[in-house]
Symmetry: C2
Subunit: 209 residues, 2 copies
């Protein structure tokens, strides 16, 4: 079914263009026309794929979340389940991840006045927190995290730190360097991780790369 594939590919392309423009200029400043122009197609074609700007924005938001989550899960698998590998993928450490955070923060600012966005946002954070908790509990089962550590609480602390850090990175990236971000989260992990210097060193190396 080549037509269906083209349709999905074209939609994904438009969403990627929308993500870039929204991160650059802000959600309000970007029009469907801007997105169509940057994607090299007519507004009629964009309107064919998406009912309205709101639908396009929500799809863009969801697409960045899915993309980041998939990237984090792939990194986790490659790092033998160490949580830092997952966390590093949702920390604003490079241009790709900055773009994602810029988009997320714009949606979050809207959540207070928009119950639908608040609900999507709530589900996204609950899911991510659950993923981190699962990772910590796996590590605990493997004996890498002490048995008395409250993984639910630590997952909450880690995600809260990353969100608080990301907000600050957006307007003060010189203060929150990649090195400082890594040191900040490494210290949070070290506070409850079992002492295994070799393993910790390798986790830090992964994050610094």
């Amino acid at each position: 079914m080549p037509i269906a594939v083209d349709h999905e590919e074209r939609r994904a392309e438009v969403v990627a263009v929308a993500a870039r423009l929204i991160a650059q200029s802000g959600m309000e400043a970007v029009s469907v026309r801007d997105i169509a122009e940057a994607a090299g197609c007519s507004t009629a074609i964009v309107s064919h794929y998406f009912h309205n700007k709101r639908e396009l924005l929500l799809l863009t938001y969801n697409a960045t979340i899915e993309h980041a989550t998939l990237r984090a899960q792939t990194a986790l698998a490659a790092a033998d389940g160490h949580p830092k590998a997952y966390l590093a993928e949702i920390m604003p450490l490079d241009e790709e991840r900055w773009t994602e955070w810029r988009i997320w923060l714009q949606f979050w600012a809207k959540a207070a006045a928009d119950p639908e966005i608040a609900e999507i946002q709530k589900n996204c954070v609950t899911r991510t927190r659950g993923n981190i908790q699962d990772i910590l509990e796996d590590e605990q089962r493997k004996g890498r995290i002490a048995r008395d550590v409250d993984c639910a609480l630590q997952a909450r602390r880690l995600l809260t730190s990353i969100i608080g850090m990301a907000v600050q990175v957006m307007y003060d990236p010189k203060d929150w360097t990649v090195k400082r971000q890594n040191a900040f989260i490494d210290a949070e992990l070290d506070a409850f991780y079992s002492r295994e210097p070799e393993r910790r060193r390798s986790a830090h190396r992964i994050a610094a790369e």
Copy 2:
């Protein structure tokens, strides 16, 4: 000079109305006309006080920061310098503080695409972090915090936790109850505070009131 006083009072009134509307509906959805109507005056009068909507928004942003900082400093003085008293005033624990966070988050979302807002935001966070650091260093001088605690780092951790928490409170207040918020920040403080049960208990009581 009654006229000058009236002028300042009227400006402050309009800013307070703007803050409430922005927190309710979002910065983009609120017009100068809406603000004038809610303040019970004409758009001409609002335009007399503020050059344009941007100036009014920036004043509203700064006014909420000044207001929260003053409230936090007053609470600190009343609590014999315990940091929790200060921190509680910038945590989203009630409607007044929710309103402030809703406004701040909307500005923060704009910071990436607006260097002037980014600069204001950066200065605000740097100042608040400095205030918290000063409070911790005072406590350290009084022997209430151990001498080997890095107050600059702990101030950074505390403010990052509060920001990360506030973002989540905005869309999931049922998860982040007042009790959970207090427990979360109390645990952060307890991690480096000297053991003084009587003093800690009284600090917790202040925060819960």
